[in-house]
């Protein structure tokens, strides 16, 4: 990794872990556990935040996330849009459920998997149709160019 943000995140997380391990009072076993927990949480957060900051600033370009090439020009794709909506809804739901449960990780019912499956399959099939149509128009263009040369 060449970015300075990566190293700042890494050093920051290690620093927090050391501070907990050295200065926070308590049983050494608990301190080790807390140092790893907080260090891990901080590094995961900072890595996530780096990506978010990159997206927000435009350094990571997501402007074409919904675009699909069609006949040379790009337009927004409904299959990508619905997949994005479902991904956000399921991610948000999973987060809310995990936060509100204090015991074990929740079971994911078959219907939820089915919803995501339908959504992702639609995207895949749509892409296949698009690719089929694009290859056909390419063939037509080549045939046209060949006829002109003759």
């Amino acid at each position: 990794m060449k970015t300075i943000e990566f190293w700042i995140s890494l050093v920051g997380a290690i620093l927090v872990a050391f501070i907990i391990a050295i200065w926070v009072p308590g049983d050494p076993k608990d301190k080790v556990a807390h140092a790893i927990e907080y260090g891990g949480l901080i590094i995961v957060f900072l890595f996530g935040f780096m990506i978010l900051a990159g997206i927000a600033s435009g350094k990571i370009d997501i402007s074409r996330i919904l675009e699909e090439k069609s006949n040379g020009d790009s337009k927004a794709s409904m299959s990508r849009f619905q997949l994005l909506i479902f991904t956000f809804v399921i991610a948000l739901s999973l987060f809310l459920i995990v936060v509100n449960r204090t015991t074990e990780f929740p079971d994911i019912p078959t219907n939820v998997l089915l919803l995501l499956g339908i959504s992702a399959t639609t995207y895949g099939v749509s892409k296949g149709i698009q690719a089929g149509a694009t290859s056909e128009s390419d063939d037509e263009e080549k045939a046209g160019e060949g006829a002109e040369k003759k």
Partner: protein
């Protein structure tokens, strides 16, 4: 000091909420283009292409938004476990997507099929 689980909850909220917020913001400002979202391409017999508002796209958009909101409401209502989605809702979603894909395939691949039959 915040407990690790509380800290993890806040981090998750910031990261997931932030990502959704940024994507929605970029859509609203036009940085993520939604141009021609409802427009479907059709091919005439002579091979010329044209785009027009597609009923299939509009219905798939409405059904998707409805199912997504329905699901989110169920989760907000009882955030202890994943809600059971009725089979009828899954069926409606699957049917809607099938109609959309069928329409798209017909519009884009029908001329190829015609050429194949010639």
């Amino acid at each position: 000091m915040l407990s690790p689980s509380t800290l993890a909850s806040w981090e998750g909220l910031i990261l997931i909420g932030g990502l959704i917020g940024i994507v929605v913001w970029k859509m609203m400002t036009g940085e993520i283009s939604l141009e021609q979202l409802f427009e479907g391409e059709t091919r005439a017999r002579d091979g010329t292409r044209s785009s027009d508002v597609s009923g299939g796209r509009v219905q798939v958009f409405l059904v998707t938004v409805f199912v997504a909101l329905y699901y989110l409401m169920q989760v907000i209502h009882n955030p202890k476990e994943f809600p059971e989605v009725p089979t009828s809702v899954v069926g409606v979603l699957a049917g809607s997507h099938a109609v959309y894909l069928g329409g798209k395939a017909r519009a884009m691949l029908l001329s190829r099929f015609r050429n194949f039959l010639k």
